[in-house]
Amino acid sequence: MAITIDRIADEMFEMVKEAQEVGKKLKPMDLQKTIKNKYDDVDKPMTKKAIKQLVDSGRLVYSYFGGTFLELPHREGAAND
Protein backbone atom coordinates (compact mmCIF):
# COMPACT_ATOMS: atom_id res chain seq x y z
CA MET A 1 0.00 0.00 0.00
CA ALA A 2 1.33 3.40 -0.94
CA ILE A 3 2.15 5.64 1.98
CA THR A 4 -0.02 8.77 2.36
CA ILE A 5 0.97 12.36 3.09
CA ASP A 6 -1.11 12.18 6.26
CA ARG A 7 0.88 9.26 7.50
CA ILE A 8 4.22 10.95 6.71
CA ALA A 9 2.99 14.04 8.56
CA ASP A 10 2.01 11.96 11.58
CA GLU A 11 5.39 10.26 11.68
CA MET A 12 7.19 13.58 11.39
CA PHE A 13 5.06 14.99 14.19
CA GLU A 14 6.01 12.06 16.44
CA MET A 15 9.70 12.52 15.62
CA VAL A 16 9.57 16.19 16.62
CA LYS A 17 7.63 15.36 19.79
CA GLU A 18 10.05 12.63 20.83
CA ALA A 19 13.07 14.83 20.12
CA GLN A 20 11.61 17.70 22.10
CA GLU A 21 10.98 15.42 25.10
CA VAL A 22 14.72 14.87 25.37
CA GLY A 23 15.48 18.55 24.73
CA LYS A 24 16.49 18.23 21.08
CA LYS A 25 15.37 20.31 18.13
CA LEU A 26 14.98 18.96 14.60
CA LYS A 27 15.41 20.75 11.29
CA PRO A 28 13.00 20.20 8.38
CA MET A 29 15.84 18.47 6.53
CA ASP A 30 16.29 15.95 9.39
CA LEU A 31 12.65 14.93 9.05
CA GLN A 32 12.79 14.73 5.26
CA LYS A 33 15.97 12.63 5.25
CA THR A 34 14.73 10.16 7.88
CA ILE A 35 11.42 9.58 6.11
CA LYS A 36 13.04 9.28 2.68
CA ASN A 37 15.54 6.72 3.97
CA LYS A 38 12.78 4.74 5.67
CA TYR A 39 10.42 4.40 2.70
CA ASP A 40 11.42 3.58 -0.87
CA ASP A 41 8.28 5.09 -2.37
CA VAL A 42 8.60 8.52 -0.67
CA ASP A 43 10.23 11.35 -2.62
CA LYS A 44 11.25 14.90 -1.65
CA PRO A 45 8.02 16.60 -2.89
CA MET A 46 5.97 14.28 -0.66
CA THR A 47 8.03 15.16 2.42
CA LYS A 48 7.64 18.86 1.57
CA LYS A 49 3.87 18.46 1.32
CA ALA A 50 3.77 16.74 4.70
CA ILE A 51 5.70 19.62 6.33
CA LYS A 52 3.43 22.17 4.64
CA GLN A 53 0.42 20.33 6.07
CA LEU A 54 1.95 20.28 9.56
CA VAL A 55 2.67 24.02 9.66
CA ASP A 56 -0.50 25.09 7.82
CA SER A 57 -2.58 23.24 10.40
CA GLY A 58 -0.53 24.70 13.25
CA ARG A 59 0.54 21.30 14.63
CA LEU A 60 4.17 22.34 14.21
CA VAL A 61 5.69 25.81 14.07
CA TYR A 62 8.93 27.12 12.65
CA SER A 63 11.52 28.59 15.00
CA TYR A 64 14.86 30.23 14.42
CA PHE A 65 18.04 29.73 16.47
CA GLY A 66 20.86 30.44 14.04
CA GLY A 67 19.04 28.08 11.67
CA THR A 68 15.44 27.09 11.07
CA PHE A 69 13.83 24.32 13.18
CA LEU A 70 10.38 22.76 13.51
CA GLU A 71 8.85 22.57 16.98
CA LEU A 72 5.59 21.93 18.79
CA PRO A 73 3.89 25.26 19.51
CA HIS A 74 4.80 26.54 22.96
CA ARG A 75 5.37 29.81 24.74
CA GLU A 76 8.70 31.28 23.74
CA GLY A 77 11.33 31.51 26.49
CA ALA A 78 12.46 34.91 25.26
CA ALA A 79 8.90 36.25 24.92
CA ASN A 80 7.69 39.17 27.03
CA ASP A 81 3.96 38.70 27.66
Binding site: K27, P28, M29, Q32, K33, K44, K48, I51, K52, V55, D56, G58, V61, Y62, S63, Y64, F65, G66, G67, T68, E71, P73, H74, E76, G77, A78, A79, N80
Partner: protein
Amino acid sequence: MPKEYKTPQLDELEKGPWPSFVKEIKLAAKNNEMANDVLGQLEQSYDERLGHWKHGGIVGVMGYGGGVIGRYSDLPDKYPAVSHFHTLRVNHPSGWFYTSDALRKVCDIWEKHGSGLTNMHGSTGDIVLLGTRTEKLEPVFQELAEAGFDLGGSGSDVRTPSCCVGKARCEWACYDTMKACYDITMRYQDELHRPAFPYKWKFKFAGCPNDCVASIARADCSLIGTWRDDLRIDQDEVAAYADGGLDIFNDVVLQCPAKCMRYDAEKKTLEVDNESCRRCMHCINVMPKALRPGTDTGAVFLLGSKAPILEGALLSSVMVPFVNLDDEEEFEDFCDLVDEMIDVWCEEGKARERVGEFIQRVGMGNFLEAIGLEPMPEMVAYPRDNPYIFYEMEEEEELEEA
Protein backbone atom coordinates in the same frame (compact mmCIF):
# COMPACT_ATOMS: atom_id res chain seq x y z
CA MET B 1 1.67 61.77 26.55
CA PRO B 2 4.85 59.84 25.68
CA LYS B 3 7.82 59.85 28.02
CA GLU B 4 10.59 62.24 27.08
CA TYR B 5 14.06 60.77 26.99
CA LYS B 6 17.27 62.77 27.26
CA THR B 7 19.47 61.43 24.45
CA PRO B 8 22.79 63.32 24.46
CA GLN B 9 24.67 60.49 22.74
CA LEU B 10 22.07 59.92 20.04
CA ASP B 11 21.94 63.69 19.48
CA GLU B 12 25.57 63.55 18.34
CA LEU B 13 24.39 61.44 15.40
CA GLU B 14 22.12 64.22 14.19
CA LYS B 15 25.08 66.52 13.53
CA GLY B 16 26.63 66.86 10.09
CA PRO B 17 25.14 67.26 6.62
CA TRP B 18 24.22 63.60 6.09
CA PRO B 19 20.93 61.79 6.70
CA SER B 20 20.48 60.70 10.30
CA PHE B 21 18.45 57.73 11.56
CA VAL B 22 18.19 59.52 14.93
CA LYS B 23 16.44 62.46 13.30
CA GLU B 24 13.98 60.09 11.63
CA ILE B 25 13.28 58.06 14.79
CA LYS B 26 12.66 61.31 16.70
CA LEU B 27 10.21 62.39 14.02
CA ALA B 28 8.35 59.07 14.27
CA ALA B 29 8.48 59.23 18.09
CA LYS B 30 6.20 62.29 18.05
CA ASN B 31 3.27 60.07 17.05
CA ASN B 32 4.41 56.61 18.03
CA GLU B 33 5.29 55.25 21.44
CA MET B 34 7.27 52.31 20.05
CA ALA B 35 9.57 54.67 18.18
CA ASN B 36 9.85 56.78 21.34
CA ASP B 37 10.90 53.83 23.52
CA VAL B 38 13.46 52.85 20.88
CA LEU B 39 15.14 56.20 21.59
CA GLY B 40 15.22 55.47 25.33
CA GLN B 41 16.56 51.95 24.99
CA LEU B 42 19.11 52.93 22.35
CA GLU B 43 20.50 55.77 24.49
CA GLN B 44 20.87 53.36 27.42
CA SER B 45 22.66 50.88 25.14
CA TYR B 46 25.10 53.57 24.03
CA ASP B 47 25.74 54.47 27.71
CA GLU B 48 26.35 50.91 28.78
CA ARG B 49 27.85 49.69 25.49
CA LEU B 50 25.41 46.79 25.73
CA GLY B 51 22.67 45.63 23.39
CA HIS B 52 19.25 45.15 24.93
CA TRP B 53 17.48 43.10 22.24
CA LYS B 54 16.70 39.41 22.78
CA HIS B 55 16.26 37.05 19.83
CA GLY B 56 12.90 35.30 19.64
CA GLY B 57 12.61 31.71 18.43
CA ILE B 58 9.00 31.07 17.43
CA VAL B 59 7.68 34.22 15.79
CA GLY B 60 5.97 34.21 12.43
CA VAL B 61 2.73 34.14 10.53
CA MET B 62 0.70 30.95 10.12
CA GLY B 63 2.22 28.54 7.61
CA TYR B 64 5.36 30.58 6.91
CA GLY B 65 8.79 29.90 8.39
CA GLY B 66 10.34 33.05 6.95
CA GLY B 67 9.68 36.78 6.78
CA VAL B 68 9.54 37.66 10.47
CA ILE B 69 12.56 38.23 12.67
CA GLY B 70 11.64 38.01 16.33
CA ARG B 71 13.02 40.55 18.80
CA TYR B 72 12.15 41.40 22.39
CA SER B 73 13.53 44.04 24.72
CA ASP B 74 15.31 42.64 27.77
CA LEU B 75 14.13 45.76 29.67
CA PRO B 76 10.36 45.41 29.06
CA ASP B 77 9.41 47.14 32.32
CA LYS B 78 11.46 50.19 31.56
CA TYR B 79 10.55 50.37 27.85
CA PRO B 80 7.13 48.66 27.64
CA ALA B 81 6.33 49.89 24.13
CA VAL B 82 9.26 47.91 22.68
CA SER B 83 8.77 44.84 24.84
CA HIS B 84 8.04 43.13 21.47
CA PHE B 85 9.90 44.59 18.52
CA HIS B 86 9.65 42.10 15.65
CA THR B 87 10.87 42.96 12.17
CA LEU B 88 9.01 42.03 8.99
CA ARG B 89 10.75 41.51 5.69
CA VAL B 90 8.42 42.38 2.83
CA ASN B 91 9.23 41.09 -0.64
CA HIS B 92 10.07 44.15 -2.77
CA PRO B 93 9.12 44.35 -6.45
CA SER B 94 11.90 43.62 -8.98
CA GLY B 95 14.21 46.62 -9.28
CA TRP B 96 12.42 48.46 -6.46
CA PHE B 97 9.83 50.16 -8.67
CA TYR B 98 6.72 51.30 -6.82
CA THR B 99 3.84 53.62 -7.41
CA SER B 100 3.63 56.27 -4.68
CA ASP B 101 0.18 54.85 -3.97
CA ALA B 102 1.63 51.41 -3.15
CA LEU B 103 4.25 52.97 -0.88
CA ARG B 104 1.62 54.98 0.97
CA LYS B 105 -0.40 51.83 1.57
CA VAL B 106 2.60 50.02 3.08
CA CYS B 107 3.38 53.01 5.30
CA ASP B 108 -0.24 53.39 6.43
CA ILE B 109 -0.41 49.72 7.39
CA TRP B 110 2.83 50.10 9.29
CA GLU B 111 1.83 53.23 11.15
CA LYS B 112 -1.35 51.48 12.20
CA HIS B 113 0.24 48.24 13.42
CA GLY B 114 3.92 48.92 14.03
CA SER B 115 6.52 51.48 15.03
CA GLY B 116 6.16 53.39 11.75
CA LEU B 117 9.90 52.90 11.25
CA THR B 118 11.05 51.37 7.97
CA ASN B 119 14.33 50.63 6.28
CA MET B 120 14.06 51.16 2.53
CA HIS B 121 15.64 48.80 1.74
CA GLY B 122 17.48 46.21 3.81
CA SER B 123 20.70 44.76 2.46
CA THR B 124 18.61 41.70 1.55
CA GLY B 125 16.64 43.96 -0.80
CA ASP B 126 13.38 43.64 1.14
CA ILE B 127 11.27 46.47 2.49
CA VAL B 128 12.12 46.21 6.18
CA LEU B 129 9.36 47.08 8.64
CA LEU B 130 10.94 47.53 12.06
CA GLY B 131 9.13 46.75 15.28
CA THR B 132 5.71 45.27 15.99
CA ARG B 133 4.04 43.00 18.53
CA THR B 134 3.40 39.25 18.14
CA GLU B 135 -0.39 39.66 18.04
CA LYS B 136 -0.07 42.27 15.29
CA LEU B 137 1.78 39.98 12.88
CA GLU B 138 -1.29 38.32 11.35
CA PRO B 139 -3.22 41.58 10.84
CA VAL B 140 -0.17 43.22 9.20
CA PHE B 141 0.33 40.18 6.99
CA GLN B 142 -3.35 40.16 5.93
CA GLU B 143 -3.39 43.87 5.11
CA LEU B 144 -0.10 43.66 3.23
CA ALA B 145 -1.52 40.76 1.22
CA GLU B 146 -4.58 42.81 0.35
CA ALA B 147 -2.28 45.60 -0.82
CA GLY B 148 -0.50 43.10 -3.09
CA PHE B 149 2.58 42.43 -0.94
CA ASP B 150 3.98 39.18 0.43
CA LEU B 151 6.59 38.49 3.11
CA GLY B 152 10.17 37.83 2.05
CA GLY B 153 12.65 35.20 3.18
CA SER B 154 14.54 34.73 6.44
CA GLY B 155 16.16 31.76 8.14
CA SER B 156 17.39 28.71 6.25
CA ASP B 157 15.48 29.39 3.04
CA VAL B 158 15.65 31.03 -0.37
CA ARG B 159 16.04 34.67 0.57
CA THR B 160 14.10 37.33 -1.29
CA PRO B 161 15.76 37.46 -4.72
CA SER B 162 16.93 40.91 -5.85
CA CYS B 163 18.18 42.50 -9.04
CA CYS B 164 19.54 45.73 -10.50
CA VAL B 165 17.15 48.07 -12.35
CA GLY B 166 18.25 46.33 -15.54
CA LYS B 167 16.50 47.03 -18.81
CA ALA B 168 14.00 49.33 -17.14
CA ARG B 169 16.60 52.08 -16.84
CA CYS B 170 20.02 50.90 -17.90
CA GLU B 171 21.19 50.43 -21.47
CA TRP B 172 24.05 48.20 -20.29
CA ALA B 173 21.72 45.44 -19.10
CA CYS B 174 22.73 42.28 -20.96
CA TYR B 175 19.55 40.40 -19.97
CA ASP B 176 16.21 41.20 -18.39
CA THR B 177 17.23 41.12 -14.73
CA MET B 178 13.80 42.17 -13.48
CA LYS B 179 12.06 39.35 -15.30
CA ALA B 180 14.59 36.75 -14.15
CA CYS B 181 14.25 37.99 -10.56
CA TYR B 182 10.46 37.87 -10.72
CA ASP B 183 10.37 34.43 -12.37
CA ILE B 184 12.79 32.97 -9.81
CA THR B 185 10.79 34.51 -6.94
CA MET B 186 7.61 32.86 -8.22
CA ARG B 187 9.25 29.53 -8.97
CA TYR B 188 10.85 29.24 -5.54
CA GLN B 189 7.83 30.38 -3.46
CA ASP B 190 7.77 27.16 -1.48
CA GLU B 191 11.50 27.32 -0.71
CA LEU B 192 11.14 31.02 0.20
CA HIS B 193 8.34 30.58 2.75
CA ARG B 194 9.13 27.13 4.12
CA PRO B 195 12.81 26.97 5.13
CA ALA B 196 14.32 23.52 4.56
CA PHE B 197 17.95 24.21 3.69
CA PRO B 198 21.16 23.85 5.73
CA TYR B 199 21.38 27.68 5.68
CA LYS B 200 20.33 30.68 3.61
CA TRP B 201 20.45 30.75 -0.21
CA LYS B 202 20.50 34.09 -2.05
CA PHE B 203 19.87 34.82 -5.74
CA LYS B 204 20.99 38.17 -7.12
CA PHE B 205 20.71 39.34 -10.71
CA ALA B 206 23.03 42.00 -12.15
CA GLY B 207 22.62 43.12 -15.74
CA CYS B 208 26.31 43.69 -16.45
CA PRO B 209 29.71 43.27 -14.80
CA ASN B 210 29.29 46.58 -12.93
CA ASP B 211 27.19 44.39 -10.66
CA CYS B 212 25.12 47.12 -9.01
CA VAL B 213 23.58 44.56 -6.61
CA ALA B 214 27.06 43.36 -5.53
CA SER B 215 25.97 39.83 -6.37
CA ILE B 216 29.49 38.47 -6.72
CA ALA B 217 30.25 39.24 -3.07
CA ARG B 218 27.04 38.33 -1.29
CA ALA B 219 24.74 36.07 -3.31
CA ASP B 220 25.16 32.31 -3.15
CA CYS B 221 23.89 32.37 -6.70
CA SER B 222 25.10 35.37 -8.76
CA LEU B 223 23.87 35.99 -12.31
CA ILE B 224 26.00 38.67 -13.95
CA GLY B 225 25.30 39.97 -17.43
CA THR B 226 27.96 39.64 -20.15
CA TRP B 227 28.37 39.43 -23.91
CA ARG B 228 30.02 36.89 -26.21
CA ASP B 229 30.59 38.97 -29.33
CA ASP B 230 32.62 42.16 -29.81
CA LEU B 231 32.40 45.34 -27.79
CA ARG B 232 30.69 48.00 -29.90
CA ILE B 233 32.85 51.01 -30.78
CA ASP B 234 31.75 54.33 -32.24
CA GLN B 235 35.02 55.88 -33.50
CA ASP B 236 33.46 59.33 -34.04
CA GLU B 237 32.56 59.40 -30.36
CA VAL B 238 36.08 58.21 -29.46
CA ALA B 239 37.42 61.25 -31.32
CA ALA B 240 34.87 63.46 -29.58
CA TYR B 241 36.10 62.24 -26.15
CA ALA B 242 39.70 62.97 -27.20
CA ASP B 243 38.75 66.45 -28.40
CA GLY B 244 36.88 66.97 -25.13
CA GLY B 245 40.12 66.44 -23.20
CA LEU B 246 39.78 62.82 -22.03
CA ASP B 247 43.22 61.24 -21.59
CA ILE B 248 42.27 58.04 -23.41
CA PHE B 249 45.70 56.46 -23.20
CA ASN B 250 46.20 56.89 -19.46
CA ASP B 251 42.64 56.67 -18.20
CA VAL B 252 41.27 53.98 -20.48
CA VAL B 253 43.97 51.96 -22.24
CA LEU B 254 46.41 51.71 -19.33
CA GLN B 255 43.61 50.82 -16.88
CA CYS B 256 42.36 47.93 -19.00
CA PRO B 257 43.04 44.80 -16.90
CA ALA B 258 43.54 42.68 -20.00
CA LYS B 259 45.83 45.22 -21.69
CA CYS B 260 43.89 44.45 -24.83
CA MET B 261 43.29 48.00 -26.12
CA ARG B 262 45.30 50.02 -28.55
CA TYR B 263 44.84 53.76 -29.03
CA ASP B 264 46.07 55.66 -32.06
CA ALA B 265 46.45 59.22 -30.75
CA GLU B 266 46.96 60.69 -34.20
CA LYS B 267 43.89 59.14 -35.80
CA LYS B 268 42.00 59.24 -32.47
CA THR B 269 40.82 55.66 -32.92
CA LEU B 270 40.53 52.83 -30.44
CA GLU B 271 41.05 49.14 -31.15
CA VAL B 272 40.06 46.23 -28.89
CA ASP B 273 41.35 42.68 -29.03
CA ASN B 274 38.00 41.10 -28.14
CA GLU B 275 39.51 37.63 -27.67
CA SER B 276 41.41 38.97 -24.66
CA CYS B 277 38.83 41.44 -23.35
CA ARG B 278 37.61 40.40 -19.88
CA ARG B 279 34.26 42.21 -20.13
CA CYS B 280 35.18 44.25 -17.05
CA MET B 281 33.21 47.39 -18.10
CA HIS B 282 36.01 49.82 -17.21
CA CYS B 283 36.42 51.35 -20.66
CA ILE B 284 32.64 51.44 -21.20
CA ASN B 285 32.13 53.23 -17.90
CA VAL B 286 34.67 55.90 -18.86
CA MET B 287 33.44 56.40 -22.45
CA PRO B 288 29.76 55.40 -22.44
CA LYS B 289 29.00 57.22 -25.69
CA ALA B 290 31.84 55.58 -27.60
CA LEU B 291 31.78 52.04 -26.21
CA ARG B 292 28.98 49.61 -25.46
CA PRO B 293 28.61 45.91 -24.65
CA GLY B 294 28.10 43.62 -27.63
CA THR B 295 24.73 42.37 -28.85
CA ASP B 296 25.08 38.61 -28.24
CA THR B 297 24.27 38.96 -24.57
CA GLY B 298 23.42 36.74 -21.62
CA ALA B 299 24.69 36.07 -18.11
CA VAL B 300 27.50 34.32 -16.28
CA PHE B 301 26.20 31.98 -13.60
CA LEU B 302 28.45 32.05 -10.53
CA LEU B 303 28.11 30.25 -7.23
CA GLY B 304 29.32 30.38 -3.67
CA SER B 305 29.83 33.90 -2.35
CA LYS B 306 28.97 35.05 1.14
CA ALA B 307 29.79 37.83 3.56
CA PRO B 308 31.83 36.91 6.63
CA ILE B 309 29.48 35.56 9.32
CA LEU B 310 30.69 32.22 10.62
CA GLU B 311 33.68 31.92 8.28
CA GLY B 312 35.47 34.52 6.17
CA ALA B 313 34.14 36.18 3.04
CA LEU B 314 33.97 34.27 -0.23
CA LEU B 315 33.45 35.48 -3.79
CA SER B 316 31.39 33.52 -6.30
CA SER B 317 33.09 31.34 -8.88
CA VAL B 318 31.97 30.59 -12.40
CA MET B 319 29.69 27.58 -12.91
CA VAL B 320 28.36 28.34 -16.40
CA PRO B 321 30.20 30.99 -18.44
CA PHE B 322 27.22 31.95 -20.57
CA VAL B 323 23.49 31.40 -20.21
CA ASN B 324 20.80 33.35 -22.03
CA LEU B 325 18.28 33.83 -19.23
CA ASP B 326 15.85 35.64 -21.55
CA ASP B 327 15.42 32.39 -23.47
CA GLU B 328 12.69 30.25 -21.88
CA GLU B 329 14.42 26.95 -22.48
CA GLU B 330 17.80 28.12 -21.19
CA PHE B 331 16.08 29.62 -18.16
CA GLU B 332 14.51 26.20 -17.44
CA ASP B 333 17.89 24.48 -17.79
CA PHE B 334 19.37 27.03 -15.40
CA CYS B 335 16.65 26.27 -12.82
CA ASP B 336 17.19 22.52 -13.20
CA LEU B 337 20.90 22.99 -12.53
CA VAL B 338 20.12 25.15 -9.47
CA ASP B 339 17.75 22.43 -8.19
CA GLU B 340 20.50 19.86 -8.64
CA MET B 341 22.94 22.04 -6.65
CA ILE B 342 20.41 22.65 -3.88
CA ASP B 343 19.68 18.91 -3.67
CA VAL B 344 23.36 18.00 -3.26
CA TRP B 345 23.90 20.77 -0.70
CA CYS B 346 20.75 19.78 1.25
CA GLU B 347 21.78 16.11 1.25
CA GLU B 348 25.42 16.60 2.28
CA GLY B 349 25.69 20.12 3.74
CA LYS B 350 26.16 20.70 7.47
CA ALA B 351 23.88 22.97 9.48
CA ARG B 352 24.78 26.66 8.92
CA GLU B 353 27.08 25.82 6.03
CA ARG B 354 26.60 28.08 2.99
CA VAL B 355 26.96 26.40 -0.38
CA GLY B 356 30.33 28.15 -0.96
CA GLU B 357 31.69 26.75 2.30
CA PHE B 358 30.26 23.36 1.41
CA ILE B 359 32.16 23.43 -1.91
CA GLN B 360 35.37 24.36 -0.09
CA ARG B 361 34.91 21.44 2.28
CA VAL B 362 34.11 18.74 -0.26
CA GLY B 363 36.21 20.17 -3.10
CA MET B 364 35.03 21.75 -6.34
CA GLY B 365 35.88 18.60 -8.30
CA ASN B 366 33.58 16.46 -6.13
CA PHE B 367 30.84 19.06 -6.18
CA LEU B 368 30.90 19.29 -9.98
CA GLU B 369 30.80 15.53 -10.26
CA ALA B 370 27.81 15.34 -7.90
CA ILE B 371 25.80 17.88 -9.89
CA GLY B 372 26.91 16.44 -13.22
CA LEU B 373 28.69 19.52 -14.57
CA GLU B 374 31.92 19.21 -16.61
CA PRO B 375 34.88 21.26 -15.37
CA MET B 376 36.00 23.95 -17.80
CA PRO B 377 38.75 26.57 -18.00
CA GLU B 378 36.37 29.45 -17.14
CA MET B 379 36.01 27.99 -13.64
CA VAL B 380 39.59 28.86 -12.62
CA ALA B 381 41.17 32.30 -12.27
CA TYR B 382 44.66 31.38 -13.52
CA PRO B 383 46.14 28.26 -15.10
CA ARG B 384 47.31 25.79 -12.45
CA ASP B 385 46.08 28.14 -9.73
CA ASN B 386 43.27 25.84 -8.57
CA PRO B 387 44.58 22.36 -7.86
CA TYR B 388 41.13 20.97 -7.02
CA ILE B 389 40.21 19.58 -10.43
CA PHE B 390 42.16 16.46 -11.33
CA TYR B 391 42.19 14.63 -14.55
CA GLU B 392 41.46 10.95 -14.23
CA MET B 393 44.15 8.35 -14.96
CA GLU B 394 41.43 6.19 -16.51
CA GLU B 395 40.79 8.84 -19.11
CA GLU B 396 44.45 8.82 -20.07
CA GLU B 397 44.49 5.02 -20.29
CA GLU B 398 41.41 5.11 -22.48
CA LEU B 399 43.21 7.55 -24.76
CA GLU B 400 46.32 5.35 -24.93
CA GLU B 401 44.25 2.32 -25.79
CA ALA B 402 42.46 4.18 -28.56
